[in-house]
Symmetry: C2
Subunit: 343 residues, 2 copies
């Protein structure tokens, strides 16, 4: 079945050499219009499709772009779970990549060594790193000549790689200022990990700045870390706040997921939102507008982030762009029903 037809079959059928067929198919002007015509009809008649594996080997270019996720445990589940964020990003990336004739290969990074190996052995043309990885991975990656685009990661690597992010600091500032303007003073900041998550760190800086501007002295007793950005962690933290931190009346959570978990815990214990607590999230995932009450949050356009990241990597691959791209996308405060004037 499926007698695979090769470029030589086409060549024979058109009465030329394989090279001529290749030249025509690659748009290299080395063949007369007349034979070009003959070759193209042969291609049509035989229904020829070039074998991309062979092309990859020959051209030393795979037309594949890799997407790396940080693996916290053995499967992607932990980070993808509850995370509409990544789906949306993948959508944006896939959209651009397909349009440009590339394929998208995804992988969770196991070890830095495996990761490097993967890129080299597969001839991956370019790479997108989504999120934060161990530092030594970034160090090792410098050895690669393939373009790499980092999405949401440590600023310290900006001079080595392309970098796409949103204005996390300003987002933190907007969220906090909103709460301050509503009269809140005891504002908790809840995030994943201030050291391991560069994004959270930036949001914290915005938070701190807003407080200072309002004459409030930031205190570590208002800062809470959880080990993963999930509903469950938010929920547990909500309960903790109720028990041990009764002075807190407002929460800025570094993700909507956390915010919604917190909200759930508070509501379960009979607290009214926004009357008793004001809550702000970050990301504007779809569910945030459908929660009760709907969640005030900082919106970022994640699909677009994926588009920009993918576009960058393709430009770098194709134009051999030498300059590094650093894009910082804007964010927006979306005021809904989870925040209100301090009672």
């Amino acid at each position: 079945m499926g007698e695979k037809i090769t470029i030589r079959d086409v060549a024979k059928h058109a009465g030329v050499s394989a090279a001529s067929v290749s030249y025509v198919l690659n748009g290299i002007n080395k063949v007369s219009d007349e034979t070009k015509e003959r070759i193209l009809t042969a291609v049509k008649e035989l229904n020829y499709e070039p074998n991309l594996t062979a092309v990859s080997l020959s051209k030393q270019k795979s037309n594949m772009i890799g997407v790396m996720f940080p693996l916290t445990d053995d499967s992607l589940s932990t980070i993808l779970k509850d995370n509409h964020y990544y789906s949306e990003m993948i959508s944006g990336i896939e959209y651009v990549i397909r349009k440009h004739g590339y394929d998208l290969v995804i992988s969770g990074a196991s070890s830095p060594a495996d990761c490097l190996k993967w890129i080299r052995t597969r001839n991956i043309d370019g790479l997108l790193f989504l999120g934060a990885f161990p530092h030594r991975l970034y160090e090792k990656m410098k050895a690669l000549s393939n373009p790499i685009v980092l999405v949401d990661t440590y600023e310290r690597y900006e001079r080595d790689y392309h970098h796409i992010s949103v204005d996390d600091e300003y987002g933190g500032y907007l969220a906090t200022t909103h709460l301050v303007n509503l009269g809140h003073k005891e504002i908790a900041f809840v995030a994943h990990h201030l050291v391991n998550s560069p994004v959270d760190k930036k949001r914290y800086i915005g938070y701190e700045k807003a407080l200072k501007e309002a004459g409030i002295i930031p205190s570590k007793t208002f800062v809470f870390e959880v080990n993963e950005s999930s509903f469950d962690n938010g929920y547990n933290l909500g309960n903790k706040l109720l028990q041990d931190h009764k002075n807190i009346r407002a929460v800025f959570a570094s993700s909507d997921t956390l915010a919604l978990g917190i909200m759930k815990a508070l509501q379960e214990k009979g607290k009214k939102i926004p009357q008793d607590y004001s809550i702000v999230g970050f990301d504007d995932i779809t569910f945030s507008s459908y929660a009760s009450p709907s969640l005030t949050t900082i919106r970022q356009d994640v699909f677009n982030k994926g588009v920009v990241a993918a576009t960058s990597v393709i430009q770098a691959i194709e134009h051999r762009f030498s300059t590094l791209q650093h894009v910082k996308l804007s964010v927006e405060l979306i005021i809904r029903d989870s925040t209100a004037k301090r009672g």
Copy 2:
């Protein structure tokens, strides 16, 4: 930089032929222990990594598995949006695939022709189809020798392909029976599209069966279709119910996403859930337990579904068995706070 070392470099360094190196690396017992040792140290010393593109070309096997999403419009966004479902599935698939040394290539299906082309030209070893595609795609796919696993799709193709699904019919039955047992008689069924979505059709059959068993005559006036399973569509439908179908007191929605959208609309108009309306969803996405009230739903283990699907395709590729696999995974009724006895 990066002088790529080839198998011939290793051979030279170990004082043997390239073939011997290849035999050792492929575990073919054709080399003495002594030279094997020499070859392996040479591999280590030179830090040799086989070029997978070359391996693919030579072995006519890419070690890549493709995942196809149905494209409703031009980007994956529409189907991935609001759909924690696919993330979770991808997690399961990736988990298995990586463990077996395969890579995961994802693509939205544009045209059937493109899809076929993709598989052939890339030498994709096996394929996973997530969801329902145009019928002619399935017809065309039969021409391929590569194993294909369908997840959640038309039963009529079960004799041509491997097939993984959950017991949608029983899920529909469980959900509806639960509502019936609570005293409900006016139970709406809300789904994507009963013809285009085979999954929804099965759930409908379960719904119908439960009604009949309870002596309730199913009526088309209780069946509602939306053109996409999203929060927004649920929300709009919720408003429609309030306006035009005041007799309805219970809703079984074919996805949690729809259910939560409906719930939001009802709540916004001052309706109490579960006092005024009982609502059941399907899928048990994470949100469902964090919504207010938490959503009664039919749980399916999507991660596991991905695991099973990926395992099937790999087994088929590696010829562990030739018979088609048809797996139907179980579902479970999760009773939460969105359903109550009819008042």
